[in-house]
Symmetry: C2
Subunit: 174 residues, 2 copies
DNA sequence: ACCAGAAAGTCTCATATGAGACCATCACGA
DNA sequence: TCGTGATGGTCTCATATGAGACTTTCTGGT
């Protein structure tokens, strides 16, 4: 149990006593939308990932690398970095660890010997299959409060946001 | 510069060469919506927070604590935990560090001597004012691709999701 | 009034992570 | 062809974090 991580149902005495519940902080900071995204995503992602870390002995970069390889075999470390939000040093460590555990294998890229293409092994696929269902199910639970139409609209807006990331993410000044 | 963190504009040779760009991974994993949320949020949050960490010498729990105190003075550590996604040990360390730097002060709660209410000092407010504008501006840039109506709808959906978090977040089985 | 259990906060220890140096390979202009 | 800079990947070091034990204080039932 992680009491410090669990959101209150609003039944805690301290919260009831306050006129405006503390939960208002979710929309009350100066970062209205970003804070909400972080809040929801944290409660989705952290418990799931922690559990995978503990039960299967994987680090976050390792978990993410397997997810990438399930999507496309043959990707390289730097490509995983590009879309995962992990630093290349950590992905590199993760890949080395995954290979040591025989969950993936590496092959030098023919056209560029700096690169190495990554492939899942059967064991890797099996391990992936052990943790993905819980993540999927938790995502479903997270979205259960939306109607079908709302879910589609939410997805559409996220797509739009994701597509525009390159236009601002590189702005180091911000 | 963090090259490994920067999303490609799609102009990288390796990506162009592929029929389906690797960027399709954003919507191509088995976690359609959750992955997109993480992707967008990572590119918003990580660079900003890293910068604050480096330039102002604050840790993430410290940054978050100041954001909470700006929203409401007098909150306690456990309340910050509840809505921040940080473990109580880290918030505790953050609070101790913030007090040592004279950015906040603590006062024992009259009605419950286990608790301590937190308050910003003038220095804390000043430091907060130094990093919040960049976060706000980056949030604005992230959302710039949405129309006014889309932005409102996105916010509404996030509100709905956030409000329902307590209904599923505690399900440890997932 | 008491006791068992919960809650607030702090601490310790092991580990994952961030920053950046480093090496090898590649790309491209002179 | 050479040489300069960029890129892919690995390594080292310091630090932030996660897990969980621990203390003190509060709560609720008997």
């Amino acid at each position: 149990m992680r009491p410090s991580r669990k959101p209150s149902n609003g039944t805690t005495k301290s919260l009831q006593a306050e006129r405006e519940p503390l939960a208002a902080v979710i929309g009350g900071t100066e970062l209205q939308i970003a804070y909400r995204m972080g809040y929801v995503l944290n409660f989705y992602r952290e418990p799931s990932f922690r559990r995978i870390e503990m039960e299967l002995g994987l680090t976050r970069p390792e978990i993410v690398t397997l997810i990438f390889l399930n999507f496309r075999e043959g990707v390289t470390a730097s490509e995983i970095c590009e879309f995962s939000g992990h630093l290349k040093a950590n992905i590199s460590r993760g890949i080395i660890a995954l290979e040591k555990k025989k969950l993936i294998r590496r092959a030098a890229d023919k056209t560029d010997s700096r690169r190495q293409q990554l492939f899942m092994t059967a064991a890797g696929r099996a391990l992936y299959a052990r943790y993905i269902p819980a993540l999927r199910e938790r995502e479903r639970a997270m979205l259960a409060c939306l109607t079908r139409a709302e879910r589609n609209e939410f997805e559409r807006l996220l797509d739009k946001l994701a597509a525009h990331v390159p236009q601002w993410a590189a702005l180091d000044e911000l």
